[in-house]
Point group: C2
Chain length 329, copies 2
DNA sequence: CCGTTCTTTGTAATCGATTACATGGAATCG
DNA sequence: CGATTCCATGTAATCGATTACAAAGAACGG
């Protein structure tokens, strides 16, 4: 492979001048500029990225932590991040955490080793105290996640409000016995629980612990939830899930049991993924604008790199969340 | 940030010895080894990846070209790739091509600039003659794609057989008027057409050009296809689509028009994505094992890097493809 | 015409690691 | 005990770029 000094030799110039041409610096005569371009072409020269990164102390690489690549909501976020990244000349490193605390921490060392310029979390498993030390090494941004004491920019949706909205909608439709499905115990999931609890208590409805389900993520989990419900003596007549995938599992299995949706069981999703309007009856759900939250996040990230936003101080951008009424409620 | 020579200074040793400790070389006394570890801990030292990459002439980075992140079939491939990559200590660079020839070529320069050790194509837009020169710079692998004269390893499914299987199934069920939906004019799409044509001609059925649809990718495209069908004087009674998303669009719109599926219109998908068993009636489709094709690809990639497979010669691994009979045919 | 400024180019240090080669001392062997 | 081998460590070159500083010549102003 040709190096910059091969080009220098070929043209009879110094590598400094060649570098100036590569980086479009002024104060290089047109003639030499042309000469260098010709030589680069002829030798098939391309600058070595590792050498540049070493010298420039940056990589134009961002690590994106994502729990599962096969979750459409997260890929829509990723899509939003990617589009802005591509536009601004950044590359994305995929870090699938599988919701594992250990993997999350492992990926953070990419910052320490300067393999990436910064990290975007689209979900977070560890306590903030674990993460905080890494903020010294480069920008860390929370996307669709919220830690009360996180000292970084946060781009989020008001999850509590979203689930408040959803729960109130169920209550307005006359459902009183409402089940609720959790994901992990993260801040996000907590916020949703709060909104749920608030709407319930505002309506004077009691919380039935038998109707609270934990660790539900996939369609399969949704099916299991419904089976568990069927085994209860006192069954809920509405289910508020933590995601459209879970909701579609609940729906699928409900049909198998011959339950009428929404008459006998109302189902409320979260995300508004494409499947929401594909399944039948179409799923009422909470719309989370995945792509937009992603693109906003990447913009903020870039502003942090340029020092236009203080990366070590909490700042919150909140995007609107809304209820999409369809046929399952 | 602490560097290796800071560690050297702190311990009174040379950077060579420190490097030996970092890389677990033999011939370092236990005492010095401990000393170095202590100093690294104390200084919060992490080796700089760019410097290592420069010196070692490799990055442990792989570029994965993918048309759309929001297509579940491709993310299942990505998932398979990622799992093996993670296990073997590789990182993935996301390259969303949006099926653009230009972007595809742009991403290939990552190889030239040595930003990545190699490239995996999960779809390919340019002619092989455009790509070929880049094989000099590092391993290139085709995943789920096939170019007759590609001089690289290929991990693929027998697309022609898949669509042959699907078409024959439709014919066996008594459908004679079969529409066919294409994606791009890539090799993959071509193969599917071949299988379709073969099954049709074996059954002595004529091809109606009005029933061939091009450039169909999304659910929205599927809806459009059905609308176009409704406008035809002579309508097909079965549609073979190039993907489950397109199929679900066709189905959705067919229901809106009050068509009975499968009695009045049979629909056959391709991929076997999660939605296939979610929509109703459940979608008959061709199962493509996305995750497996991805993980096999990454394994082959690593074998290429280690020289255990000749990366500049065509080799083909073909995984089984099968028909999943459900309710739309 | 001389001093000043601007343009163009080169020299050499630098980024932070790895490693070929050298060296001195300890261990081993006949 | 002398020769040989092995172990532990250091010196300095190297990977391939960027850039501070120097320097020579051109342009310019009074």
């Amino acid at each position: 492979m040709a190096t910059i000094s091969d080009v220098a030799k070929q043209t009879g110039l110094s590598s400094a001048t060649v570098s100036r041409v590569i980086n479009n610096y002024p104060h290089v005569s047109e003639e030499k500029r042309r000469l260098v371009h010709e030589a680069m072409e002829e030798l098939g020269y391309f600058p070595n990225t590792s050498a540049r990164n070493l010298r420039n102390r940056k990589t134009n690489l961002v690590a994106v932590l994502i729990p599962r690549l096969t979750n459409p909501f997260f890929t829509s976020i990723l899509d939003g991040i990617e589009k802005v990244a591509e536009e601004k000349g950044f590359q994305l490193l995929i870090c699938q955490t599988q919701s594992s605390k250990k993997k999350e921490m492992d990926f953070l060392t990419l910052l320490k080793t300067k393999q990436v310029d910064g990290v975007i979390f689209t979900s977070i498993e560890n306590d903030w105290s674990e993460i905080k030390p890494y903020t010294e090494s480069g920008p860390i941004i929370l996307c669709n996640e919220y830690h009360r004491n996180a000292t970084v920019p946060i781009i989020r949706l008001d999850q509590a409000y979203g689930s408040y909205l959803g729960t109130r909608h169920l209550i307005e439709r006359g459902y009183r016995k409402i089940a609720f499905c959790h994901g992990s115990k993260s801040g996000l999931s907590n916020d949703r629980r709060k909104g749920f609890v608030r709407a319930m208590s505002e309506a004077g409805l009691p919380l039935n612990q038998e109707w609270i389900f934990h660790n539900t993520y996939t369609m399969e989990d949704g099916k299991n939830v419904l089976r568990e419900i069927m085994n209860l003596r006192d069954r809920p007549n509405a289910v508020f899930t933590g995601g459209d995938e879970v909701a579609s599992g609940v729906l699928k299995e409900a049909k198998r049991y011959g339950l009428k949706v929404p008459e006998e069981l109302a189902i409320l999703g979260f995300d508004d993924q494409p499947i929401a309007s594909l399944i039948e009856p179409e799923l009422t759900t909470i719309c989370q604008p995945g792509e937009e939250i992603g693109s906003r996040t990447m913009s903020v990230f870039i502003d942090c790199l340029n020092g236009e936003i203080d990366r070590k101080q909490q700042s919150v951008i909140e995007l609107p969340i809304s209820l999409v009424k369809r046929k399952t409620t």
